[in-house]
């Protein structure tokens, strides 16, 4: 249902098979400056050679720990940060040459984690929602705002003239969602959009997001650290570690069997929800390493219990490893020709 809606979107050009977003070899490094002359002393490898696609009508979940580059990826896709290298192709148009950033921004909107910081405290709710359409010269911005408020569950008569500080966190996040929808986007990036909400409110917003996806024919990128939420809402999941993709695939395949040892550790770290069967051993020791000067080879080899020499020497490529061409992992264990002693063998990752 949602798929057909997204594919029959009026702005659709390339047809159902063409990805909505094709990200190729995205790279973003930040210089670290220090000392008397403010010289560059180190580099944060926030995103390194990141390639993936977002298909029309799907929800792509992105998971990973802090500092792995999830939010940088989102900001690169929406043009809030400039790419150091790589290209973004939006429905067949290369960003920067075939399609301008301004034109793409109509089609790609974002909802941030901090519902309060992302609203202008001096604009009323209806002005906030109408602001984007007004700037882009769309018709009847005020009517559009009132309609969207009603759609996200905020009575326009009660809320239109209120200010952000008069709203609860859940209500503010509904305003942010309405504001994102005001531009009739095709892709909405939700960057930890429900993480700051209380659990009971989070469930309400998730139901709303599910309904809106069908109704407006949307495609979502859903960034979160909560694996339960990602499983509930996503079709495919992308797992990041220190600026790289370590695994990507259909949500059921990844949740049933993780191919990369890092993904497996992330899942093992989830609370068990079973008082008779609590976790006995932490899956990983220590904290995620700093993205300043990440380890060579496979970036996970410093914490991986299967690491061998090859893992330190050679960076594993992201490749399909089994019957499912959609399920990819970047691990020498999954590549029989890698030279890893356990390569290709069944291991409990």
């Amino acid at each position: 249902m949602s798929k057909t809606d997204a594919l029959s979107h009026e702005a659709d050009r390339g047809g159902p098979r063409q990805p909505l977003i094709l990200a190729r070899n995205l790279k973003k490094h930040f210089p670290v400056r220090s000392g008397l002359f403010n010289r560059q002393t180190a580099t944060v490898h926030a995103v390194d050679d990141l390639s993936f696609e977002v298909r029309k009508g799907e929800t792509l979940g992105i998971v990973g720990e802090s500092g792995c580059g999830k939010s940088t990826t989102a900001r690169l896709l929406i043009g809030l940060m400039e790419l150091d290298d790589g290209s973004i192709i939006f429905d067949g148009d290369i960003l920067g040459s075939d399609i301008s950033l301004k034109d793409m921004r109509r089609s790609v909107q974002m909802v941030f984690q901090d519902s309060y910081a992302s609203l202008n405290p001096r604009l009323t709710i209806s002005d906030t929602i109408a602001f984007g359409p007004k700037v882009q010269g769309l018709s009847d911005p005020k009517d559009r705002a009132r309609h969207l408020m009603a759609r996200v569950g905020l009575d326009p008569n009660r809320f239109a003239h209120r200010y952000p500080h008069e709203l609860s966190g859940g209500q503010r996040q509904r305003v942010n969602i309405a504001r994102a929808l005001a531009m009739s986007p095709r892709l909405v990036i939700l960057d930890e959009a429900v993480s700051a909400l209380d659990k009971s409110v989070e469930a309400q917003v998730l139901n709303l997001l599910t309904d809106l996806r069908v109704e407006f024919g949307l495609t979502y990128i859903f960034i979160s650290h909560d694996l339960n939420v990602v499983r509930y809402i996503s079709d495919r999941v992308l797992v990041m570690y220190l600026g790289e993709v370590v695994e990507i695939g259909p949500v059921d395949a990844i949740y049933a069997k993780q191919a990369h040892p890092y993904t497996a550790s992330l899942f093992a770290a989830m609370p068990s929800m079973d008082p008779d069967n609590r976790t006995q051993e932490p899956p990983l020791a220590g904290d995620p390493p700093n993205p300043i000067d990440p380890p060579p080879g496979c970036r996970f080899h410093t914490r991986c219990r299967f690491a061998e020499h090859v893992c330190r020497d050679k960076r594993p490529a992201l490749a399909a490893f089994g019957d499912d061409p959609d399920h990819l992992a970047a691990c020498h264990l999954r590549d029989p020709s890698s030279g890893h002693s356990l390569a290709g063998k069944e291991i409990a990752a």
């Binding site: 659990k199 509930y232 992330l266 068990s272 976790t279 932490p282």
Partner: protein
């Protein structure tokens, strides 16, 4: 009841006064035995953190009105002041905060901070206190503890800082450790390390822990017993197993459903409609009734009494009225199954 409980809170009320009044805690009763791990579970504004701060007397006295009694190890802590209060804070009871980067002093090394606490509470010399600090860092499994003693907080990672914070809190061997969402700011793989560490340390030191969290999964991982808070009071308490497998209060059931554990993809989520009350007036009926799909007329008329559907369970909900009232009626403390 074999022994007097370590902690006894009876009919606690906390009100904050400023431009408007907030009734943060409304008639809370809580008992805790020695060596017990209790999780206080609730959403923001339910009064979890206020309860912990009351226990350490950290609330601003001028703007706070506190009624009720709080006894720790037989002492009424509301009567403490001056040196006795200082000895109590960090001595008998100490606290681990959510944000170790803010709770630790940035201008002193970890070793200095732990040693200072030890010298304060145990009246020992500097050399001996340093030795205790080193021992504590080893116990919280910080690698190369000798070197870490000389580190400043900013030189450590988030997980390491939280370990140091725990070492600091346990340095004077408190009987009760209060943990205010100590893992919320941490990554998942680090969170599970800290939870397992607290479980081990609890066994080692035999202290009691009150662990405040909004995450039901974390509560299951750490606690023996769970008390669910809503609008400034406990609405349900019982063993962790009972709460997870047989939640009685509609709010607890809603919270469990909202955790999304094992929910089918694409299925509509059962949600709790609305949002928690503002607590500007003192609740005189069930605070959850306006959001409850099973509310009855009597829920809106008076505060629901505590019922005891099984030993060690307490549920403040009229739906349970077939069961016997909990031992002390309305003001009952959650019974304890030791």
């Amino acid at each position: 009841m074999s022994k007097a409980p370590l902690l006894q809170i009876e009919n606690l009320h906390v009100r904050f006064k400023s431009d408007r009044t907030v009734h943060a805690i409304n008639g809370l009763n809580l008992h805790l035995q020695e060596g017990e791990m209790l999780a206080l579970l609730g959403e923001s504004g339910s009064g979890k953190s206020v309860t912990l701060k009351t226990l350490l007397r950290l609330l601003p006295p001028k703007r706070t009105e506190i009624d009720g009694t709080v006894q720790v190890n037989g002492t009424d802590i509301m009567t403490l002041s001056g040196t006795r209060l200082s000895a109590y804070r960090g001595g008998d009871v100490s606290m681990v905060f959510q944000e170790p980067a803010l709770a630790l002093d940035p201008v002193y090394t970890i070793g200095d901070q732990i040693a200072e606490t030890v010298m304060r509470h145990k009246s020992v010399g500097r050399a001996e206190a340093r030795q205790v600090a080193l021992d504590m860092l080893t116990r919280v499994r910080i690698p190369s503890p000798e070197r870490r003693l000389k580190n400043y907080p900013h030189e450590m990672s988030g997980g390491m800082r939280q370990r140091a914070m725990i070492a600091l809190a346990l340095a004077s061997r408190p009987k009760l450790l209060l943990a205010d969402e100590p893992t919320t700011a941490l990554d998942a793989t680090v969170q599970i390390q800290i939870l397992l560490l607290l479980r081990e340390l609890q066994r080692e030191f035999g202290m009691s822990i009150i662990f405040v969290t909004h995450d039901i999964g974390v509560a299951v991982e750490i606690s023996d017993r769970v008390a669910v808070m809503y609008a400034g009071n406990i609405v349900e308490s019982g063993s962790t197993r009972d709460i997870i497998k047989d939640a009685r209060h509609p709010y607890t059931r809603g919270l469990l459903a909202a955790n999304l554990h094992g929910v089918d993809r694409g299925r509509r989520l059962d949600t709790i409609a609305g949002s928690p009350p503002s607590l500007e007036t003192k609740p005189d009926a069930c605070s959850f009734a306006p959001r409850c799909t099973e509310a009855r007329p009597q829920c809106l008329r008076a505060l629901p009494p505590f019922f005891a559907p099984s030993p060690g369970r307490q549920v403040a909900c009229n739906l349970e009225e077939g069961y016997s009232p909990a031992s002390h009626g309305l003001t009952a403390a959650p019974a304890i199954a030791c």
